[in-house]
Subunit: 364 residues, 2 copies
Amino acid sequence: MGDAPNPTSSEMRYDWLADRWVIMAPNRTRRPDDFRRLPPPAVDPSQCPFCAGREAETPPEIAVYPAPQGKGGWQVRVVPNKFPAVQANSDTWPVTGNSAPTWIPRDIDLYQRRELTGGHEVIIESPQHFTSLSQLEQGAVATVFHAFRDRLYHWLEQQRIAYAVVFKNSGLDAGASLAHVHSQLIATDTVPADVLRIDQRMQLFLQTESECVLCRMAASEIEQGVRLVEQTARLVAFCPFASRLPGSITVLPLEHSSGFELADDATIEELALLMYRLIRQLELCYPDAAYNFVIHTAHTGTRNSPAFHWRIEMFPRLTKVAGFEWGSECYINPVLPETAAERLRQAGHIIAEQDDRAHHTSNR
Amino acid sequence: MGDAPNPTSSEMRYDWLADRWVIMAPNRTRRPDDFRRLPPPAVDPSQCPFCAGREAETPPEIAVYPAPQGKGGWQVRVVPNKFPAVQANSDTWPVTGNSAPTWIPRDIDLYQRRELTGGHEVIIESPQHFTSLSQLEQGAVATVFHAFRDRLYHWLEQQRIAYAVVFKNSGLDAGASLAHVHSQLIATDTVPADVLRIDQRMQLFLQTESECVLCRMAASEIEQGVRLVEQTARLVAFCPFASRLPGSITVLPLEHSSGFELADDATIEELALLMYRLIRQLELCYPDAAYNFVIHTAHTGTRNSPAFHWRIEMFPRLTKVAGFEWGSECYINPVLPETAAERLRQAGHIIAEQDDRAHHTSNR
């Protein structure tokens, strides 16, 4: 547990929560085109449907967060996704009564299908044509995280909804179809099977150890330190021990809490600042890299559970998922989390110095 | 089972073999940049380490398949991967005796790691700087598949090896680091956990139904026809009912067989021709698309098993795996397999007509 990993030979690491092995192969980082990133294609902002002034190009807005006093206009806008992966069915919605939290497939039937209903929203995070949260003012980032909380809260209160997730695709390689800074929310009437599997793992840990697995992991990462990126008053960020993708970061509240949507204002604002710093660190380590983050909050079946702890998973998209991974479902990660964490900490120091210098200059 | 899928609303489909749900969302294909593919960057073939004349730039070759009589030189070359994901460990290799086919993780331990040993080879599929198997002559494609068979056979006979897989990454988006047409083989001393899970599903089907699940699926796909791409004397190709990625194709032998590496020459040659046609069809449907294929053959624990049936999974890389998929492990596929199969069949007709015309012209 405390022994230093060998920086060159391959090893398998076990992701206890996901119950899967990952191959750590630090030798692979010297491949011919490793981490080569094509710059994103230039986009003409005058065609961007998310920019201020072109609000009519999106469906009517669901929620608006106005700009701070005196500025006018909006700061964050929430609209339905024009090309939804899932939507409400007017024939079956709204229905009163219980909805099954998940679908149990029949034992032997190779052709099973079910209707899927729910909602799919876009959170437009700036009226300006920025392409990353790191370009926003810090206060604006906090508004974005308030919007995440509000929208998750809204959906998880709906009668027919069992599961909701907020995620960001930033950059083409991360699956974004538009460059303008935005995130998405998908809510569904069923909980994905893999999410339930992780619930079961969390439940198993609680039953065996009388402790939440992520409470334990947070304490252990702080104690070990080698994968720690940053610890704040209420939160911790670290590179997970057996991450499938290089440069992955997990962010957790230090105090046990199952629902992100139930977090208080102070936590949301501290989180927004931490995420803002982490994104800047990622962008310094891996320029032009696309990235994703996902907010995992409890579904309706694990709300207020002592076993479930909310978390954010963030990962730059440096490598492509290739044939071996698709074939074996076993990922090859060419950057040890210990190495990734060290780079991120160094980037944090550099950014802090730059900010300090900028602050002193502006105060002169 | 026989009912036509709704072409616009979302549905979940159950992948019985993988025991997972997939979201089919055909509405999503109208997104702004769907299926936009950046053309691959121009590569200077004079720098390519896989081209004839630059053999010294790869490690010494493991196997060579000479060009047909009179042509001189090699047609296919197998070399160790210069940047291996896994390799033999001279301290522990060779060891006589049994190696565990898999590693059972300890119940409660968040930090488990194991050494991983094995081999990683590159199969260079042409001396010329081609970038796709579709550019080769048909006889040369057959040689490539003979090489796949030989190398899998070799590795699965090794004392310390439990698992081997051949896979192709074609194009940057599919994880290829070099454009020159090639495939790879990874062999490991342990079987990936997900591969074992699929074994268990195959075993469950056999026990319950007294039939191999893929024998049943092949018969069913031929009977239903809607997802069928092509049937030959010994093989069948279809778009699987619950594929995670759009345009995926499964290829199976009609007669039950667990080991690809045990296939006879006639099957290998028929398969090579079928794969050659399928790749041309994919490339006609999705120009410039990157793609992967994976040869799933029995590991040492399922060799000659009546439950395990070898198969090839091939998939163009049209969409990016985005935040929702990483968060929920539930994939959104914007193209129904029925639609994908129809397009591939149409492409097959167009190619057959072109070939017919070319043949008549050359015979005039």
